[in-house]
């Protein structure tokens, strides 16, 4: 699998650019992935990325987008737990893009 150099560190990614070993994740990697995805990281983006990392730590999977939306709504409020808000932050799919930035594998059931 391809190796990329991120902030002086060699990391392995899969064919679609997802981080292979999520224990390597750090903010530099998140920023690198965000540039790849053409996402300009703001505090709102970080909120979702950090939420995903917590979700993964608790359940060992990356959530499907419907599940992510519902869970964000519960934790951060209904104004954030909807597709419009999440797609504005991550136009090519919140589950797909935000998971990549968070260093998680592509969500199961992501179609």
């Amino acid at each position: 699998m391809p190796m990329v150099n991120i902030a002086g560190k060699e990391v392995e990614v899969d064919e679609e650019g997802y981080l292979v070993d999520l224990s390597q994740w750090n903010e530099d990697i998140a920023k690198y992935m965000a540039v790849e995805e053409k996402v300009d990281l703001t505090d709102s983006h970080w909120e979702v990325v950090n939420f995903l990392r917590e979700y993964y730590a608790e359940y060992q999977i990356a959530p499907a987008v419907r599940v992510l939306t519902k869970a964000i709504g519960k934790k951060l409020g209904p104004e954030k737990g909807n597709n419009k808000y999440l797609y504005e932050l991550f136009p090519y799919g919140p589950a797909k893009q935000a998971c990549k930035i968070a260093g998680l594998p592509k969500p199961t059931g992501c179609i």
Binding site: E58, Q60, I61, A64, V67, T108, G109
Partner: protein
């Protein structure tokens, strides 16, 4: 008619799917693969129930530590099922008894069913898939 049209015709159909888990969590890939299929089925808004029987009941026990065999501990993922609206989890009474397990040993809330109750439940399903 294109394939796309046929797919559209199929949307909105909800079938009753039962996933039968009979094997221990590690050693074979059945438990993990079965769990992934359940998550995908739930993403298509189907009516999903999961049954754990025979060594399959070990998939749900608390305190699994898979570090020594260098595989992911996916037992935590069963707790995510509720978020996927998969809330019908059943275990077989006889399988629990034979292994000295009670509901308190399990990481999620389940309904414990007798063989007869399980047979009735199975008869109600449109699709039964065994892992």
């Amino acid at each position: 008619m294109s394939d796309m049209d046929e797919m559209d015709d199929g949307s909105g159909v909800v079938k009753k799917f039962m996933f039968l888990n009979r094997k221990a969590p590690h050693g074979t890939v059945y438990a993990l693969e079965g769990l992934e299929v359940v998550l995908i089925t739930a993403a298509f808004d189907q009516d999903v129930s999961m049954v754990f029987t025979d060594d399959g009941v070990y998939q749900l026990i608390k305190g699994i530590d898979s570090k020594g065999i260098e595989v992911k501990d996916f037992s935590k993922t069963y707790r995510a099922l509720e978020g996927y609206d998969v809330e019908k989890l059943y275990v077989d009474q006889a399988s629990m008894d034979a292994r000295g397990l009670t509901e308190d040993d399990l990481i999620v809330d389940v309904a414990v069913l007798s063989v007869d109750e399980m047979a009735n439940l199975m008869a109600e399903q449109d699709v039964v898939i065994s892992f």
